[in-house]
């Protein structure tokens, strides 16, 4: 505590990201990073951006990056917002669309930054419990009881930390039932196997789809994300950004992110590899007595019939394998394990076998 902090700063409980241990070399499967390096074209783009004009401010419009995104997703430049990671974009959404008057709605088990934002920006929120099987109770989000409330909805698809996908028709039902509210679809993991809502943004001006380059584009270390939606939603985000920090993406990030978007072949190759590894690993774990939630992401959410999750977490860590354990009601007997290379996942399987 400090006399210099305002009330919000004194009260907030900040988000805690997965650990980035420095003590020893782990097989690191705790923060859903991609096991493959970014496209070689990204490295080329970085090297030429570095030789270029770093002494000059970047383009505040990030036009080069927006053009690459527009080409890939077949949307207009005016439908794209770029940010310093998708977390920054989520924060800007709270600043642009929500306020103290109306609640934002999200699931009880989902990305744990949403309620940190809500508390921090003093936005009330309504927590909707997932179904017993961790699926989304769509009808509770697609209710039209209060069509003019202008609140907000956030759905992670696929969800984290469960990995479960929501059907695109259900996403559309939610958007259609809440046409006066901003419906944020956080698609951080969408490239690993579920259908994106990007094309729905052309029909529904209230849908904002948020993507990151941290996962399927192997660029967690670069900090770049983007949002796709109607021109009015994008303009709202631009207004907030330009009242906060005119240049959130640097010259190197803009060039590197654009190069990543353009190398479709590399992207397809690496994401398919990860999907393939996930399917094999899920089968292997099932054979070891794990319950494996069907995953559309680059991680699996698993629980064992005998071994408790906190025990497994600690045992794996002792043996050099770092996974994520959330000590939270409802999921405190689950582990979230990022999908690494085939070799890494085989090591996990062998390590667990050894514990028996």
């Amino acid at each position: 505590m400090s006399i210099y902090w305002n009330e919000t700063t004194s009260k907030i409980i900040p988000y805690v990201p997965g650990e980035q241990p420095q003590d020893k070399k782990y097989i690191k499967l705790n923060t859903n990073e991609n096991p493959y390096p970014p496209s070689p074209k990204v490295i080329e783009a970085i090297n030429s951006a570095a030789c270029d004009t770093l002494r000059l401010y970047p383009d505040p419009e990030c036009k080069m990056l927006k053009e690459a995104i527009a080409a890939y997703y077949n949307v207009g430049i005016e439908n794209i917002f770029t940010g310093n990671g998708s977390d920054e974009i989520l924060a800007f959404c709270f600043m642009a669309f929500f306020d103290e008057q109306k609640p934002v709605k999200f699931a009880d088990i989902t990305y744990s930054f949403y309620n940190v934002y809500a508390d921090f920006f003093k936005v009330p929120y309504e927590i909707v419990p997932l179904n017993q099987d961790f699926s989304l109770p769509v009808e509770k989000f697609a209710t039209s009881e209060e069509p003019f409330r202008q609140a907000g909805i956030i759905v992670a698809n696929p969800n984290a930390p469960t990995g479960m996908a929501v059907d695109i028709n259900d996403i559309e039902r939610i958007a259609a039932a809440n046409q006066n509210s901003v419906v944020i679809i956080d698609e951080a993991y969408v490239d690993f196997g579920c259908e994106s809502a990007v094309q729905l943004t052309k029909k529904y001006p209230n849908i904002l789809v948020i993507h990151t380059l941290s996962k399927s584009r192997s660029l967690a270390g670069l900090r770049a994300g983007f949002a796709i939606g109607s021109a009015e939603l994008i303009e709202g985000l631009e207004r907030v950004k330009n009242s906060f920090n005119s240049y959130t993406l640097d010259r190197i990030a803009i060039a590197a992110a654009a190069a990543a978007l353009k190398d479709v072949e590399y992207f397809e190759m690496t994401r398919k590899k990860i999907i393939h590894t996930r399917e094999k690993f899920s089968k292997d774990l099932a054979q070891l007595g794990f319950k494996v939630i069907p995953s559309s992401a680059n991680f699996v959410f698993v629980s064992h019939g005998t071994f408790k999750a906190d025990f497994l977490f600690q045992e794996l860590k002792n043996r050099g394998i770092l996974v994520r354990y959330f000590k939270k009601p409802g999921i405190d007997n689950y582990l979230r394990i990022t999908i690494g290379t085939d070799e890494e996942m085989d090591t996990v399987v062998e390590t667990i076998k050894d514990m028996k």
Copy 2:
């Protein structure tokens, strides 16, 4: 306007940065960028960071960068906050220290982002007019009438767009008179010729000094800044950052910024060159009938006896030289001209001579 925007988003008037024209090649003296490229060691650092582990999240603590800053300024790691440009740090200051209850005080002629932040974050503010000669009315900031008001003060030193320095003893008077308030000293341009308040932060827990790498370190395109202050002020900023975006600096920016801080020789060489060019250019302009405000920054603020500033701005632009003109009461007959290379400034002088 949009039904999806909240009230703040609908009402705000965002900050407008200096233009980054794409239409033709200008001698670009409008956004206080450094005419020299960053240190060659920065480019080396970028190339090795790019080959490294971009697939992994960066260190949220930015330890490597903080260590370089700590070594250069002889302060503790716990006294340093790093951000995605000094603008992001200023925004975090408003979020961490100020609120709707008490006003923040700054000059009428100063960095024009301060009042944008205040409006955006709904912080009331008290505008203090500069003296006639653009110097800071120190007594109006060093007043102790309300010692427990816990408001805030922001002083840019040297000031922008005037370039005028505030004496370090006056900075100390302001800090001493406001020990219950956060006193932010925005030293974006301090390396070009005025004394830093960094060492005062050891005596006054209420001073926060903010630096950027955009100007004296030639890294406007990289987006990196830092703040130095008491551990409690820094912790306040960390709490805000970790409720907003855990990783605002990417792996490349961390490595590049650390390399820039370490190359003291290159830094000294380039900043001294700019100071030398500024002094010569100021004399040349005085001989052409300009009033030149004494500058401690990498720009000069000038007014001509005959030519109106808006005319000069447009004429220079037509002739391929971009400077900054603020159409604001009190300074609407002044131009802010960034210091480029000797050759560039000679061209400016010759171009103005040609107009006669």
